[in-house]
Symmetry: C2
Subunit: 341 residues, 2 copies
């Protein structure tokens, strides 16, 4: 299997991207194609004495501040566009990038297209919960959604949780301001019956707290709410750890105690570390594209490559496509088919 990696995207590019890619190549037995400035990549590779990696030269880089759709159209020789085109041309099986999320998305839409029946690709966030992981989608690609988009997110999340996270029959919930069917905004109220008729394991409305309690394996929402919740969770965790350090630093006994409890606290941080999961899959495009946090270091990149590999191995795109197709042909719920076409 060949994975195209955007070597120039992210705060720590190209060094950390390349180190992560090399680790993935060694650990998972993958062929890696590093896409970007050949001279800089080769210098890095020389420093690591690495072989077995291909380099594809790209002269341009799309930065975080650029308008994604415009930049992707103009900079045809940027690392993210070149990497995505390798997938389109059959030279690679998947693309991984820690650069501009919008650019990775725009490039995938332009070059790979959408899965038939999917109106809007979504970015799936994978968050730790008390028992494992919750897939939250969308976390930022689509801020204004229609009910049928939420239906499609539900199906994509269901397949992702099933094929990649190994849940036999994932529980899908719709994020709302209460559990009752009467709770929600205009869009979620209309999405509820669509999801209920989709033939997936839909458990109805769930609340913000359910995301971290592991009540649902998949939580569906628009990209505005998803992004806000994702970042609020991050902020809350950071605040808690900071407050804990502050309180502990106030007493010598507490400091001694923390020394003893240290390894336990390290384990806790590890369980919360996004890098452990690594990468938000872009679902609904006709190919495998995994997006990493801009601040990704080697470990996060390596793990994102693992997610890409599993998506290819488990034929995720095909599974989403078949599921969408099955709803359209099930008939009965005329509404649904209408929403999907």
């Amino acid at each position: 299997m060949k994975i195209a990696v955007d070597a120039m995207g992210g705060d720590h590019a190209p060094r950390e991207i390349i180190i992560g890619a090399l680790q993935a190549a060694a650990e998972y037995g993958l062929e890696i194609i590093l896409v970007g400035d050949e001279a800089r990549i080769n210098a890095e590779l020389a420093a690591h004495n690495a072989g077995g990696v291909t380099v594809v030269h790209a002269t341009e880089v799309i930065s975080m501040g650029e308008h994604p759709a415009i930049a992707v159209r103009r900079k045809k020789n940027s690392s993210i566009v070149r990497a995505t085109r390798l997938v389109k041309e059959g030279e690679a099986d998947a693309v991984v990038s820690a650069g501009s999320t919008g650019a990775a998305m725009a490039s995938a839409l332009l070059n790979l297209g959408r899965i038939k029946g999917i109106d809007r690709p979504a970015i799936a966030g994978v968050l730790p919960n008390e028992k494992g992981y919750t897939v939250l989608l969308d976390v930022g690609a689509n801020v204004d959604c229609k009910p049928q988009h939420l239906l499609q997110f539900g199906i994509m999340g269901y397949q992702y949780s099933s094929k990649i996270l190994g849940n036999a029959d994932p529980r899908v919930g719709l994020l709302s301001n209460g559990e009752e069917d009467t709770k929600g905004n205009e869009t979620t109220l209309a999405a509820l019956p669509l999801l209920r008729g989709a033939g997936i394991n839909f458990i109805g409305n769930v609340e913000g707290r359910d995301i971290f309690e592991g009540t649902a394996d998949v939580v569906v929402c628009d990209g505005f709410a998803g992004n806000v919740v994702l970042k609020a969770g991050e902020g809350m965790a950071r605040m808690l750890l900071k407050m804990m350090k502050e309180e502990i630093s106030k007493s010598l006994l507490a400091q001694m105690g923390t020394l003893l409890a240290g390894p336990a606290l390290k384990c806790l941080q590890k369980r919360l570390d996004y890098a452990e999961y690594g990468g938000a899959p872009l679902l609904g495009v006709n190919g495998v594209s995994v997006i990493c946090h801009g601040s990704s270091k080697a470990k996060a990149v390596k793990n994102a490559i693992r997610v890409a590999r599993e998506s290819v191995d488990n034929r995720l795109v095909n599974a989403i496509s078949l599921n969408i197709e099955s709803i359209k042909t099930r008939g009965g719920c005329g509404n649904l088919a209408e929403g999907i076409d």
Copy 2:
């Protein structure tokens, strides 16, 4: 000052409500009017050997499952309606309830009415941040909002943070999926210039993480996003504390350490405890109404009564009214005045 307390609302009513009310009466020198089933209230009062508290009999109770607007209209002799009417009739200065949030809101709207220029009252959540408290509003009263509602929330939050939390010139942010002006959904994009022209200390878009980092003193959002974030934060905190206990229980050394660090962890929990702040003020109604969490115990009730007292003392309703009026008369931004009328 007289505070009417709904003695029958909440999971621990009437006992914990009454204990909290008695503590507030003693500590803040307030007159408390307990509203509810006279026999049950008097039995509780006798057990506490309490005096100086008035009881107003109410034969009905509105439960959590009832439709708020309908129940408030039908159950004219319910504890929450009777308590709110005491404010309307000038018999009390404020009302406090831990019962159904919707019923407290509907009762306030029906009996006290709205402040002139406010279309939709909002519930303000007061969340801990790294440095103090962030006022988040709306957290549940209005799931679908228009841009001018967000503007009004901004003004109400500004006045609350200034008058009750003592911030000289509170920083108001608009919750969005990114800091740039181009980020947001249709509603927030339209609300941004309105807030910028409102003459308050508006700092632009903020992200989910800013709520807990204390970047802003007030964060404005619709009731759907606000409710989801509030509960997600609760869920995240609970997950973290649970994970910490799990990790610690795995090793004897860590357990000994935790014993030593115990007081520090207790302080942490206290900083996170919603009861320490106590009560979500209902802003925009023409009177003071404070809503407590349904699971409130005595301490939370006592603190909610303190918030009610401060709202009366600092003439919060008047301050909101003047601020709204000043925007209307400032002219210049025709849009604004239009939005407010």
